[in-house]
Structure formats: structure tokens, C-alpha cells
């Protein structure tokens, strides 16, 4: 739930990057952190294991500056993708205003994508929210790998029933990262 502080003239929104293990959620945040102008970003905070897998979450605050007299901020989070951490994902998802679901385009990962998206739907509904009305965008990541599934197939398996905006990406090179971020942040603002 977004927070609008009238006295401090601030608006805060929370966006969570969700998806199966190693799909590129942290990579998205790292790219955003490297490419957004310094005045608009805070430190990227990562709670990761020694092998750099996300253990709890990554956190990146972004500051749009003053808009109509309101300081507008987005807080970006990632969840840990590994199956083991389902309850941790629930904890991070708490109070989110919007979600980017990062799908791994590799053929071998389709099953994990589907399971993770179903889990997301369950977890959002468990918060009492309507999944189909919840601000959500899909990102088909790793479009550059040789065994990437065709877009039509990903659409069929992941997006045919929810029909949300979706973007192709190669997060490691920054391709599609900002298109995704722009779409989710606008969606979140439209629902404020």
C-alpha cells in the first residue's frame, strides 16, 4: 500500500521483482542502479548468500524528485527465487503496490516460470487482493540465449489468462529493463 505523507509531502510506492531462481531479478536492480542518475537513486542493499544468491531481498530506493510539490519515491525489492524460500517471498511481498514478474525465457525453465507465477497469484490473493486487478507486468528475460522460447509460446503459457503488459529483455545488458520499470511504475501511479 502506497504511503502519502501530506506533511512531509512525500509519496512512497513499493515494487517487487518476483520470479524463479536465477531468472535475473537482481540483475534488473543492478542495472537500474548503474544507469539511473546519481541524484535519483539510493544505495543498493543486498541480503545475499556467500555465493551471491539472494537470501532475503535486494532493495533499491529511487527518488523521482519533486512532482507537483510531492517528493515521489519508488522502493524496488527483489525476492529470493529459490523454491526453498517461499515464505520469505511472502514476507517481501507484504504491502507491495506492484509486481514485475521476471520469467526466464529458456525452454528448460518454462516449468519453473509457470510454477512461480502461480505461486505469486496465490500469495497476492492471500493478502486479500484480486490478482487480475493487481498492478503486474511480465518481463521475458534472457532473450539472447540460444534455447529461448518464442514469444508466442511464452505468451501462451504465462500471459494468456492474465493479459498484462509484457516486455522482452536481456537484463544483463540492460535491454528492456527500463521499459519494464516504466510500465510498472506508471501502472502503480495510476492505481494510487
Amino acid at each position: 500500500m502506497a504511503l502519502i505523507n501530506v506533511a512531509a509531502r512525500e509519496i512512497h510506492c513499493k515494487i517487487v521483482y518476483y520470479g524463479p531462481g536465477l531468472c535475473g531479478k537482481t540483475t534488473n536492480l543492478k542495472y537500474i542502479h548503474s544507469a539511473v542518475p546519481g541524484h535519483a537513486r539510493g544505495d543498493l542493499l543486498s541480503i545475499a548468500t556467500e555465493t551471491e544468491r539472494t537470501l532475503f531481498f535486494d532493495f533499491l530506493p529511487l527518488d523521482l524528485g519533486q512532482v507537483h510539490g510531492f517528493q515521489t519515491r519508488f522502493h524496488l525489492y527483489t525476492v529470493p527465487g529459490q523454491v526453498l524460500y517461499e515464505r520469505t517471498r511472502v514476507a517481501v511481498l507484504n504491502g507491495a503496490d506492484g509486481v514485475v514478474f521476471v520469467a526466464d525465457s529458456q525452454q528448460t525453465k518454462l516449468r519453473e516460470d509457470i510454477i512461480s507465477l502461480q505461486e505469486l497469484a496465490r500469495n497476492i490473493q492471500a493478502e486479500g487482493k484480486k490478482f487480475l486487478e493487481f498492478p503486474l507486468v511480465l518481463q521475458y528475460n534472457k532473450r539472447d540465449v540460444p534455447n529461448a522460447l518464442p514469444i508466442e509460446q511464452l505468451d501462451h503459457y504465462l500471459n494468456s489468462s492474465i493479459k498484462v503488459p509484457r516486455f522482452e529483455a536481456v537484463a544483463s545488458k540492460g535491454v528492456g529493463v527500463f521499459d519494464t520499470l516504466k510500465a510498472i511504475s506508471k501502472l502503480v501511479i495510476s492505481k494510487l
Partner: protein, 164 residues
Amino acid sequence: MDPQLTSLVVSQAETSHIEDTLERLVAETGANYSMLLDKSGQVIAASGDTDRQDITALGALLAGTFASSREVARLLKEKDFRVLFQQGVRENIFTELISEQWMLVVMFDKRTHIGLVKVLSKRATDELASILERVKLESRAKDQIISTNFRTSVEDTIDLLFKD
């Protein structure tokens, strides 16, 4: 909490009520710092050392810790853990849940006694609960703040900032 409520709008008057409560808590316990968080990790108000630069990250982490403990409670079939206490060499953190939705955080050092923090935090959370209840009701009338113009300007800013 109405899950369909998308924004919590805290008015100027209620912010100052919240700040008064936090300030009194800090003054009476001798704590260093106190803040009110919502469960998503946003800092609603804070009081104490004004030179703290790290409160955004602290808010995110403390809310994360609490959310995690809520899941632990669920697994243990415990209703919830209302209170968390983190003890350090220099500083301690006392966190208490308010109406399932918010958290009161008190940071204090060895000059302050934990018992006092517990007792006075309980009083503060009762006060904050009733303030936040009013805030929730008022949040339905947010249209005067979030106008169409505002949304358009935010969208323009997003386009300007979020690019390679």
C-alpha cells in the same frame, strides 16, 4: 485492513500527532530514536537523532525482519509475535506490532532500561493505533491530492529518469 485500499494518506494534523507520540516516547525513555513503519517498510514518521541518513534502508530491513518473524509464527502455529528485541553491544532495537499493519521501532542504548521501553511503548502503540485508525478512514478521501495532473507529471518524470 481493507486490502483494496491502495494508499494510506497521512494528513499534516495526524503526522504531528504521530510525531508528538514518538517524541514523548523518546523523551520519557531516554531512547535515541523511534520510528513508525508500515508493513511494506515505509517510514511514516521518525523522532530522535535527526542526523540519521539511513532510515529508508533501516525501515526496509526492520519491516523485512518483522515480516519474516510473522512467517515463523505461522509455521509454529503462533498467532503472531507482537514484539521483537534485538540486542547489540552498543545499541538495542525494540519493535512492537500495531494493529497487524504497522510497527513501532525504538532504538536505545545501555542508558535506557528495556522494561521502561516495553511499558512506554505499549502506551505509545495504543495511542498510535487510534491515530492510524483515523488515518485509514481519511485515506478514502485522497482525490484532492492525487489529481490527473499529478499522475501525468509523474509519468513524464518517469519517462525522463528511467532511461538508458
